[in-house]
Every structure is written in structure tokens, then in C-alpha cells.
């Protein structure tokens, strides 16, 4: 179970670490596309694009479906969860920052009060 989670996490990070693959995700966010469309758009060979899509598919970020001779790619079920997770991650970063800013501001406030008392 732990092993499985780690693999899943690693595959998602690996999938997102590549500029082309992030570009493919953005592209599929606008519209579904065939592997041929994507290869043309990103100026790559069909084989190269197949590899990228394979990595995204394995990470659960993209699903593909073959109809006749055309394989269509669309965003996988994890796409929305990913965005929610990204936003939560972002919120945590800012909440942590602002908790510390709160401490710094509180120190300034106390300092001011002390200075006022001393001036009297």
C-alpha cells in the first residue's frame, strides 16, 4: 500500500517535471486531441509524443481512447483533484507565511506600546 502510494506520487511528479508534458496538459485542458494533433502542435515525432502521453497516462493525468485508427487523449480524472491539491498547497504556504507575519507584526505592536509607556 505504502509502496503503491509512493510510486503514484513519484509518477505524478515525474510527469509534471517536463515542460512538454505540462504543455500537453494545458493543451488538453482546452480541448481533447489525438496523438497526431499533439505531435504536430509540439513539433515532435509521433513516437516521441506517444512516450510523453504514456507517462501522463501512467500517472493518471491523461486517459486515451482508440476509435478506429485515431487515439484521442483527454484529461484524466485526477486533473481536478490536482488543481484542488495545488490550490490547497498554495493556501498552506501563505497561511504559514502569514502566521509568521502575524508574529512579526505583534512584536512591532508590543514594541510601540513599550515605547509609548517609556515616553510618558
Amino acid at each position: 500500500m505504502v509502496q503503491y502510494q509512493t510510486e503514484r506520487l513519484n509518477s505524478a511528479f515525474a510527469a509534471l517535471s517536463d515542460t512538454t508534458r505540462r504543455g500537453v496538459l494545458e493543451q488538453l485542458g482546452r480541448a481533447d486531441a489525438s496523438i497526431t494533433d499533439l505531435a504536430v502542435k509540439f513539433d515532435m515525432t509521433l513516437t516521441g509524443m506517444k512516450k510523453h502521453v504514456g507517462v501522463l497516462e501512467q500517472a493518471g493525468l491523461v486517459t486515451t481512447q482508440k476509435v478506429g485508427r485515431v487515439r484521442t487523449c483527454r484529461l484524466g480524472p485526477r486533473r481536478l483533484e490536482e488543481e484542488t491539491a495545488w490550490i490547497e498547497r498554495y493556501r498552506q504556504l501563505w497561511a504559514a507565511r502569514f502566521d509568521r507575519l502575524d508574529d512579526v507584526v505583534e512584536e512591532l505592536k508590543q514594541q510601540e506600546l513599550r515605547d509609548k509607556r517609556n515616553a510618558r
Binding site: 505540462r22 491539491a85 498547497r89 502569514f98 502566521d99 509568521r100 507584526v105 505583534e106 512591532l108
Partner: protein, 172 residues
């Protein structure tokens, strides 16, 4: 004790994040202090360095140059050492004490976001609103993805450490 007394401090310390549109992120937080003190903590480098890098983060702020005035520039350098450093830099478009700071984020290859921080004081408290406007939906998506990618790494390593520890204890 009534419910409003209980929820007041909790609501104040609450940091909210909302994706307002394809190109905008908005973060808010209320501080129990006048705006000038929040402004001071944001604009004095020695104070800014105390809070910008959260303790939970593995990042270290190596240097922090801030020429805080309209038209001034800033440069933040993060990283464990010179070989693994990351720079964030840009220009202050507007600095109006104690209520408004606007800056560009120029480290990206394409146009970066413009960040606007406003401080609104009411009854001795200050509502801070941080608004990021990205040049495109794709730029915001990529930034969120990249942020989660780099920021999550230390935690990923922690999780990996746990896994390794579990495996090691089982093996012995």
C-alpha cells in the same frame, strides 16, 4: 461562552485563497494591528526575512535586496548553497505607504504575474488582500503546478524517509 466570541480569533487568523478567474488568484488575511505596522513588516528587509520563508519549508533565503519605492527593484535569492539557488526578482510598480504595494514577478521566461497587496485598516485591524494577475490562464496553471512541484518536494522526501524507515525496520 457564546459562539461569536469563540469564532472571532479563528476567523481572523484564517488565510483564504480563491481562484477568482482563469488569470487571478486572491489571498486574504486579517491582522490585529494597524496597517502601518503590517506595511513596516512587509517593507523592511530585516523584518521581511523573518516571515517570508515558513519554518515548514526547506528553503533558505540567502539574500534579500529590496529597494522599496515606486520604480525600485527587488531580488530574492533562495537555496541551500550557491550551486542550488533560485532567484525571484522584479520591479515595484507602485509603493504607497501604508496601504498599497504593487510589483512585477520577472523571473519567468514569459511575462509573469503582477502582484498587488492592499492593506485596509478598520477599527485597529488590517485586512490584507494579495491579488495576483497572470498574463494568461496557462501561466497561472503552470505556476500552480510548478509551485506544488517544488514546494511539495521536501515533504515528498519526508514521506520517502518514512517509507524507507518502515522498510528498514521490517528488514531487521
Amino acid at each position: 461562552m457564546n459562539a461569536s466570541e469563540e469564532s472571532e480569533p479563528a476567523r481572523m487568523k484564517n488565510t483564504t485563497v480563491e481562484r477568482k478567474s482563469d488569470r487571478e488568484m486572491v489571498v486574504t488575511r486579517t491582522f490585529d494591528a494597524p496597517a502601518r505596522l503590517v506595511f513596516e513588516a512587509w517593507t523592511k528587509p530585516e523584518l521581511f526575512m523573518k516571515w517570508w520563508v515558513p519554518k515548514s519549508s526547506a528553503m533558505t533565503l540567502r539574500s534579500c535586496d529590496m529597494d522599496i519605492r515606486t520604480g525600485g527593484k527587488y531580488r530574492l535569492v533562495f537555496g541551500a548553497d550557491a550551486a542550488h539557488q533560485m532567484e525571484f526578482f522584479g520591479r515595484y510598480i507602485e509603493v504607497t505607504p501604508p496601504s498599497r504595494i504593487v510589483w512585477t514577478n520577472d523571473e519567468g521566461e514569459e511575462g509573469g504575474a503582477v502582484t498587488t497587496v492592499t492593506l485596509e485598516e478598520k477599527g485597529g485591524r488590517t485586512l490584507l488582500v494579495m491579488h495576483d494577475l497572470y498574463p494568461s490562464k496557462e501561466a497561472l496553471d503552470a505556476s500552480l503546478a510548478a509551485g506544488s512541484n517544488t514546494d511539495a518536494l521536501p515533504e515528498t522526501f519526508d514521506q520517502l524517509d518514512e517509507v524507507l524507515a518502515t522498510l528498514a525496520s521490517k528488514g531487521s
